[in-house]
């Protein structure tokens, strides 16, 4: 039986887990808020951004969503604050600030 794993959490008794902790779905990492770990937070300066879109594919956590060919802010639920995006931007449209506050 394919258990809906979104119903499994840290209170679920052992009998309620899937065998071998199998995960019965695709793209389930979206349920896991890796943004909790963030020590540094990227800040977006829209006025400097030229929409070259170099940053979006460089993000290891797909945390720079692109809609209709344009990026906007960050997906802070999943951004881990690695700083790669700020490093690759040719126009200094992002900077990193300390802490995980948005």
């Amino acid at each position: 039986m394919r258990t809906d794993i979104t119903n499994i959490n840290k209170q679920t008794p052992y009998t309620g887990l899937t065998e071998a902790l199998e995960v019965y779905a695709g793209g389930t990492s979206v349920h896991f808020n890796t943004g909790d770990w963030r020590n540094n937070t990227p800040v977006y300066h829209a006025d400097k951004c030229r929409q070259c879109l170099l940053c979006a594919p460089c993000c290891p956590d797909s945390s720079i969503p692109v809609t209709d060919g344009k990026r906007a802010g960050f997906d802070y639920d999943h951004c881990k604050g690695c700083g790669i995006c700020a490093e690759v931007c040719p126009f200094d449209a992002m900077e990193m600030k300390a802490g995980n506050e948005v």
Binding site: R2, K10, T12, P13, Y14, T15, L17, E19, A20, L21, E22, V23, Y24, A25, G26, T28
Partner: protein, 406 residues
């Protein structure tokens, strides 16, 4: 190492008399089962198994996908990948080859992948040696695999044919090791009865896992990182599956007996009904111990043998019951565990007896390391220690080596 006592000619399916080595018998069983994938790397004394399987494939008698990997670490990794993808998968190894699989053995079990590994028991060096003892299998005792041991070629063949039904059962889904003694069983040619191809095919059936990675339109992830909050719950589920395998092992053995006329359980009891003195051991040496028992019975000594077949899960309650009527039991281990007290069987059987409140005397002995001969006289010397002890003599020293030069 006599033929199975319980071989019965009036079986449902035809019994085909043959003579084969243990490796040949297992390779023949693999041809009959026709698994989907076999990744393997050669190591003495199991090398013949992948070699013979490759020959079957070259001759068009088998359509198994054989993967010639570069190490046993890769063999078990490939087996995990293939089994997770949904393919019935097996491999073969011995000794250091099993040791190199170690990390993956635990993953195969925790990922609940019913891989069948045929283990041809060889000592785990050092000193470097290619001959039989059980240190490879005993070393892997805590990896979460089911382990079944054979006394002779017939049992190695029969156990292999039962393996997939046990491992793949929906209540179990655990990997399984089918073990036989290196050289003594793997290379010695013995008479045995084979089953017809069709009978094996029907018995084993096709592999239809409920979930697997290549299931169309049903995405699944296997082996995710598990935080502290989930590890103990996952282990408990794994343990429950191992415990459920007890009934499955017995049920599959029953069905196998109906087909073949040859019966199996957790262990075999040989002349133990009224026995005062019992020798408990695993593998080919059990045949030698039975011959010793026959001679002792002639001389009026009530001796018997318990040959353990299923080592994991460990049948501690059943063993305690089977031993409860005797005065003393010699527990023989074919591996050293360096606790200074006993080998693995010595520790586990004694713990089972204590828990069950069975207060018989036990004597731990180590034998056959690195292929050292274990003869009828060796077995008789241990029984003599038991009888002297029970006749009022001093308690013999525990954990001694049989046949050690002094």
């Amino acid at each position: 190492m006599s033929m199975n006592e319980n071989t019965n000619q009036n079986t449902i399916v035809e019994a085909i008399p043959e003579r084969m080595s243990g490796n040949e018998a297992v390779a023949y069983a693999i041809r009959q089962v026709n698994p989907d994938v076999m990744p393997a790397f050669p190591i003495t004394p199991s090398t013949e198994i992948p070699q013979m399987v490759s020959t079957y494939i070259s001759n068009g008698q088998l359509d198994t996908e054989f993967i010639p990997v570069e190490s046993e670490h890769s063999a078990m990794s490939a087996a995990i990948g293939a089994e997770a993808a949904g393919a019935r998968t097996m491999t073969a190894t011995s000794s250091a080859g099993l040791a190199l699989m170690w990390e993956e053995l635990l993953l195969a079990a925790s990922n609940r992948l019913p891989i069948a590994l045929t283990l041809v028991n060889r000592t785990l060096s050092g000193p470097i040696n290619i001959n039989c003892d059980h240190s490879d299998g005993m070393g892997a005792r805590d990896t979460g695999w089911i382990q079944i041991y054979a006394e002779n070629n017939q049992e190695a063949y029969d156990n292999y044919i039962q393996a997939f039904r046990i491992a793949e059962h929906k209540d179990v889904r655990l990997p399984i090791m089918i073990c036989q003694d290196g050289f003594i069983t793997s290379h010695a040619v013995q008479n045995l009865y084979l089953l017809p191809d069709e009978a094996v095919k029907d018995f084993v059936g096709t592999y239809e896992p409920e979930e697997y990675l290549l299931k169309p339109h049903q995405p699944m992830a296997l082996g995710p990182y598990s935080e502290t909050d989930y590890v103990m719950e996952a282990k408990k589920n794994q343990l429950d599956a191992m415990n459920r395998s007890r009934q499955v092992i017995l049920d599959v053995a029953d069905e196998f007996a109906q087909m073949s006329g040859r019966s199996y359980g957790f262990f075999e009891e040989y002349r133990t009904d009224d026995a005062d003195y019992i020798m408990l051991l695993m593998g080919s040496a059990a045949g030698t111990a039975k011959d010793a028992v026959d001679e002792l019975r002639e001389a009026g000594i009530k001796a018997g043998v318990i040959k353990l077949r299923v080592f994991r899960p460990f049948p501690e309650k059943e063993l305690a019951k089977a031993l409860s009527g005797c005065k003393a039991c010699a527990i023989l281990d074919r591996c050293e565990s360096y606790n200074g007290n006993s080998g693995v069987l010595g520790s586990e059987v004694t713990a089972g007896l204590y828990r069950a409140g069975v207060q018989i005397r036990t004597l731990n002995r180590i034998y056959g390391l690195g292929g050292r001969d274990f003869t009828v006289d060796s077995a008789k010397s241990v029984f003599e220690e038991l009888t002297n002890w029970m006749d009022g003599g001093e308690e013999p020293l525990q954990n001694e080596y049989i046949g050690l030069r002094r």
